[in-house]
Symmetry: C2
Subunit: 384 residues, 2 copies
């Protein structure tokens, strides 16, 4: 089962080609090719002979040759930031299932949030002749979009949606989603927020959600204290660490609600809170993003926003397949990111008695009429 080092051999040793099949079936290569691509162009009788020849010889079509001759690779590329994030593995699983059904194969690349790598990966995939390309996000360099234009291949920006986007997109409105979150918290009576998010500089979805958060807060006359804005990796550990850092800051008034960049961070915060004996949501409310499988199992169940991960994969596939089939299809697909209130959010605690620090006067005026308080343990008000 050993093989010559770097396959420098010219003709593949004893390879079965169209020619072989054609000879065995007593027809021309063109006929065999027709059988392969448009069987109905071949008569019943010949069809049988060719089929038998292919089976007997164990013929496998040479994909590169087909691609070269037909200028179609039957391959679709997808570039996602990482597979270590469950939302992307769900997305890709679903994407793959759908393109496979249509006879396409997936060429996958990840870039671990390094935008230069993303660009290189795109080049590689285009070089490989993908017939279409699925991307994540929409903020990319002019050079990147120029490349896409030059390649003249259908593509779609997933996980984003804007009514006025210049490019095909398939996702949801991140700003609106966070507005919903902020409104929920403000309604509960929260006025002081911490935000523990991803890195906005390399992730435009994070940037959009952050912008949405700021806008929504502003609409309620609240300004985000920049000290309470942390950018961290997506991991339980960094969620935990974030909570420790927030506490160490000792900002007054202390935030009564933490908006986490995703459910993994939020879960980390929950774990750390439990370890430190901090009551969630009694003392502090926590909101996540994404609605991961684990989220409704957490203690307390996590209030979050359900991101339509599977649906994004499906609809992106659908869009690209339509384009490839020459069908008319909407350029922008908006999906729903439903808010899922659960047990990790509740009204803030009653204003604490003036903190131990003698110097700081208790802030008062800022706090408007808080809505009627509910018992802190009012959990799982979620639809699920």
């Amino acid at each position: 089962m050993q093989r010559s080092p770097a396959g420098r051999n010219r003709a593949r040793r004893g390879a079965v080609t169209l020619q072989t099949v054609a000879e065995k079936a007593g027809v021309s290569t063109a006929t065999v090719s027709r059988f392969l691509n448009d069987a109905h162009l071949v008569s019943q009788e010949v069809r049988g002979r060719v089929e038998a020849a292919i089976r007997d010889l164990g013929y496998i079509p040479h994909h590169a040759a087909r691609t070269l001759a037909s200028n179609r690779s039957r391959t679709i590329g997808a570039i996602v930031p990482t597979l270590d994030n469950a939302i992307f593995s769900s997305h890709i699983t679903s994407f793959q299932k759908h393109i496979t059904k249509a006879g396409y194969t997936l060429l996958l690349a990840t870039f671990e949030y390094d935008l230069e790598v993303e660009f290189k990966q795109a080049q590689t995939l285009l070089e490989r002749g993908v017939d279409a390309l699925s991307l994540v996000g929409e903020r990319r360099s002019d050079a990147f979009y120029a490349l896409l234009e030059r390649a003249d291949v259908p593509f779609v920006n997933t996980w984003v949606w804007r009514a006025d986007s210049r490019y095909p997109c398939c996702g949801f409105d991140h700003e609106a989603a966070l507005k919903r979150v902020v409104d929920h918290l403000v309604e509960l009576g929260h006025r002081t927020f911490a935000v523990v998010t991803g890195f906005a500089d390399r992730n435009d979805r994070v940037a959009a959600r952050l912008a949405g958060t700021r806008q929504a807060l502003a609409a309620h006359g609240i300004t985000l204290d920049e000290r309470l804005l942390l950018s961290v990796e997506y991991s339980y550990a960094s969620g935990r660490e974030a909570l420790r850092r927030l506490r160490a800051l000792d900002v007054t008034p202390a935030p009564t609600a933490i908006i986490a960049g995703n459910d993994v961070i939020a879960a980390g915060i929950l774990f750390e809170a439990k370890a430190q004996g901090i009551d969630v949501p009694g003392t502090v409310s926590v909101v996540g993003f994404g609605d991961y499988d684990i989220s409704k199992e957490l203690d307390p169940p996590l209030t979050t926003v359900r991101s339509p991960k599977t649906e994004i994969g499906e609809r992106a596939a659908e869009y690209l397949l339509s384009r490839l089939a020459g069908r008319e299809t909407p350029e922008r697909v908006e999906l729903e990111a439903r808010f899922c209130p659960r047990g990790s959010t509740a009204p803030p605690p009653a204003p604490a008695p003036a903190p131990a620090k003698p110097a700081s006067p208790p802030p008062s005026g800022a706090r408007k009429a808080a809505p009627k308080r509910r018992p802190a343990k009012s959990r799982s008000r979620s639809a699920d």
Copy 2:
């Protein structure tokens, strides 16, 4: 940015080819090709001209043509059961990182544990001319192995290792890993076990772990009550349901330890236990498999076996790359699956007073001297 329907166009409209570059640089296509593949074969001066031409024209090599001409695709295929399982997404992420570094691209396929689909995917990838192939598991049909043989492409069975395997493998000994788990539980004093695992008929790792479990139990004179063996999907929900089913069985004596097929199932069991007020590990011990990120954060932290997911990806890549480079390399790579005792396992509760059922005599003789009891809350005895 629209494109002709099904790219039936012969020559790609106005495509930049080697020819174009060659003309612009005033050299032959052979020279440009050499520049691309073995730059040192080209003189400094010409190298500069070619480089400039490529840059100016935005030339992208046509991969299919290269593959056809050189009989090397610089693509490596990987087939995994699913990406929805974090161990495989970690595996693939790591695998991809390493092959990318060596200039290869990943062609990925999943089969969702449907072995027929797996076979088809293998055919597709080989048809696409992958230079090498990474698989999961080792139990496959003769036809499958015949296909691999015929394709004459290096491949490796990952997630499995046996000293006497006929094929290259990169993984660990599942039987031994479960033996370690069983020994741990028996040492703690457990005698009655439940097993909630995946589906052994379509997953040879599950089968091997189950075999290991049975053997280890037998070595301690214990037989697994088949009613306490459940096969379920890998999800929190099925873990929860499994615990409910186990309780509904009302087998006597009730199992004091549950061996779960992976950490997701184990976590589900933990969640359900908490919901039902069952003390873990006080009333029942739970062991998982895989050491997922979440596992040490659970309450109690989950005793489990760490599977070397990242390392498997890395070493599998290493093996295949070595083969492709013509380097000698060991055919079987054994990795460590370390046992991680944590808080979810403890000695069983003191033998309950004879169960409410009047008819059943309390089993006695079976129970040998249980080791000294530790307080049920003795948690986090873990190394980490």
